[in-house]
Amino acid sequence: MTVTDISQGKRFLAQGNVYLPHIAVIEKVIDETPGVRTFHFNFKDEKLRAEFTFESGQFGEYSVFGVGEAPFCISSSPTRRDHLEFAVQQVGRVTNALHRLGVGAEIGFRGPYGNSFPMNFLEEKNLIFVAGGIGLAPLRSLIWNVLDNRNKYKKIDIIYGARSPSDLCFKYDLDSWNKDKTVDMVTTVDKGDESWTGREGFVPQVLEQVAPPAQNAVAIVCGPPIMIRFTFPVLGKLGFTPEQMITTLEKRMKCGIGKCGRCNVGNLYVCRDGPVFTYAQIKKFISTEY
């Protein structure tokens, strides 16, 4: 698969100026882990609410007015449209400000930006989702998208890990995927606590133990950079070709539309050419640039 094979994604509903955010209202706040929150939001403008479309894998630039903007993927599925979701780890200026917001607060949103997961390419294939920590957020959009069209896809494996049981995000989703008989779900933590009865071990190791066959399969990987770096070699050992490995990258971004410069991996801009890449695309640069 080449860059052009990865779908170009929906263009932002521009009103002439791509940098102008739309006003959106927070409808619900969910505490995922001590540092991570999910926000449900909707556009204030009813017309936009009706017309807005996006695809799994795309992201937006979220504003806290007076503080700044930061990019986050849309973590809800385009198949579930009554509101939009994004998940935020409290790590810096904008994310701290977001965490101070409650239901009813207004934020800015511009997007959707970037490409999306190649849905056509994934059809009729076995899908292996490999995620770590808050890296589940973009995959979650895709997982629900796939589950809502379950008959289009073959076997589904989800391998998800976090540092500790309390760092597992989207526990309500993990529960329902666990119950779903059409999904093979493995949850792991680096180190369990007294109450943890599940698996222990790093995601790449667990992936190696689960050893999903590479034939007619695509692995979709997202997590902290170190996890991504260690997962690709494992997939390689399992027989996956670089074209069968898909990831979505996170980098510092400002403009979201390939202009401000900082998010490049080699000549590719994560915001413009990604965030979804095949390993084949970024292999050359990833060892030293990500």
Binding site: R11, F12, A14, G16, N17, V18, Y19, L20, P21, I23, K44, S63, V64, F65, G66, V67, G68, E69, Q89, V91, G92, T95, E106, G108, P224, P225, E250, K251, R252, K254, C255, I257, G258, K259, C260, G261, R262, C263, N264, G266, N267, R272, K284, F285, S287, T288, E289, Y290
Partner: protein, 343 residues
């Protein structure tokens, strides 16, 4: 046979600028602010014709300013209201832009037109007339000829002026330029002798650019050396990671976006940024370009490898500012001279 070009006496440049001031905000090289920039024409001072070689701050600043307000916002009972400032699309004329800087704008156009149009940049760019002025005295840091250009290259200007002694030869390059030239009251038809003088001046200027850089296969060489940490560390050793080379580079466009809040009002600004700074790519948990050699590599490769990969053109016009203004004399041509060829 008379040429289609015109000429104007140097003494009349002031009058010409005043004519143009009727329609445009005219910018000319100036040292008034303490450093050489393109500044608003004050209606009289043409002394720049004597001292001007090139500005420190390139005319990029007239189109992609160091900072600009993107919009402002206010909050009331109903919530936030966003207001766009009037996009700064006043008609401006930049007099005396050097070919390297004009070519640089053509390179910037590619990024700001790519996939999403950038309204701030384009509103200014589309309302700007460029009056090129060929160099007669390039700096020892200039290397435009190595990049397929020349000190008198007229490719990316509307009107080109070439120094032919007491006069400037005027060539109209674009339609806008033709219209402009037709309306210059003080211009005369250029003669064949004038054309011959201009040709001579162009050749003389070309030969004055002595710094040479071999750009053959440079992008391939850089790609092959991308992981050559030893090379990059050596190249980066004396760099102090300041932003001079990037912020003053006519083809560097990276910017940052920030909000400001004062007295209940807020505004969003964008301002130039530099990949030389560690914070440029800093994320809360890690920084892919924390080490200096990675940042230097990105700067060099962006211009000579990534931009050619994306837009088929090297994002450097050989203006030499990065060499001339660098406080430690880090020299991009020396860097590129010793890129290891394919192993």
């Amino acid at each position: 046979m008379a040429s289609s070009n015109k000429k104007i006496n140097k003494k009349d440049i002031g009058k010409l600028l005043n004519e143009w001031s009727q329609e445009f905000t005219v910018f000319v090289p100036s040292r008034e602010t303490g450093t050489a920039t393109m500044a608003k024409w004050d209606g009289k001072d043409t002394s720049f014709l004597d001292w001007y070689r090139n500005t420190v701050v390139s005319p990029k600043a007239n189109i992609l300013p160091p900072m600009e307000e993107m919009f402002h916002f206010q909050k009331d009972k109903e919530g936030y209201h966003i207001e766009l400032p009037p996009l700064d699309g006043h008609k401006q004329l930049i007099f005396g832009i050097r070919p390297c800087d004009a070519n640089a704008l053509a390179i910037l156009d590619m990024t700001f037109n790519d996939s999403y149009e950038d309204p701030y940049y384009l509103s200014k760019r589309n309302n700007t007339i460029l009056i090129g002025l060929g160099c007669t005295n390039p700096y020892d840091s200039c290397f435009c000829t190595s990049l397929g250009s020349s000190p008198t290259d007229a490719t990316n200007v509307d009107l080109m002026l070439t120094d032919i002694g007491d006069e400037f030869l005027i060539e109209a390059i674009t339609d806008k330029g033709k219209e402009l030239m037709a309306n210059i009251s003080l211009a005369e038809e250029a003669t064949e002798a004038d054309e011959a003088k201009a040709k001579e001046a162009r050749e003389a200027a070309y030969n004055k650019v002595t710094r040479q850089l071999d750009i053959k296969n440079i992008d391939e060489k850089l790609l092959a050396s991308f992981d050559n940490q030893d090379y990059w560390e050596k190249i980066a050793a004396k760099c102090i990671s300041c932003g001079i080379c990037t912020l003053l580079c006519p083809t560097c466009y990276c910017f940052d976006i920030n909000d400001e809040l004062l007295k209940g009002q807020g505004a969003r600004f964008r301002s130039l940024d530099s990949c030389s700074f560690p914070v440029y790519t800093k994320m809360p948990m890690e920084n892919p370009r924390l080490e200096k050699w990675r940042r230097v590599r990105n700067k060099v490769c962006h211009k000579y490898e990534f931009y050619p990969m994306n837009f088929d053109v090297i994002a450097c016009t050989g203006c030499g500012r990065c060499i001339r203004l660098c406080p430690v004399n880090w020299d991009i041509t020396q860097t590129l001279d010793i890129v290891p060829a394919k192993a």
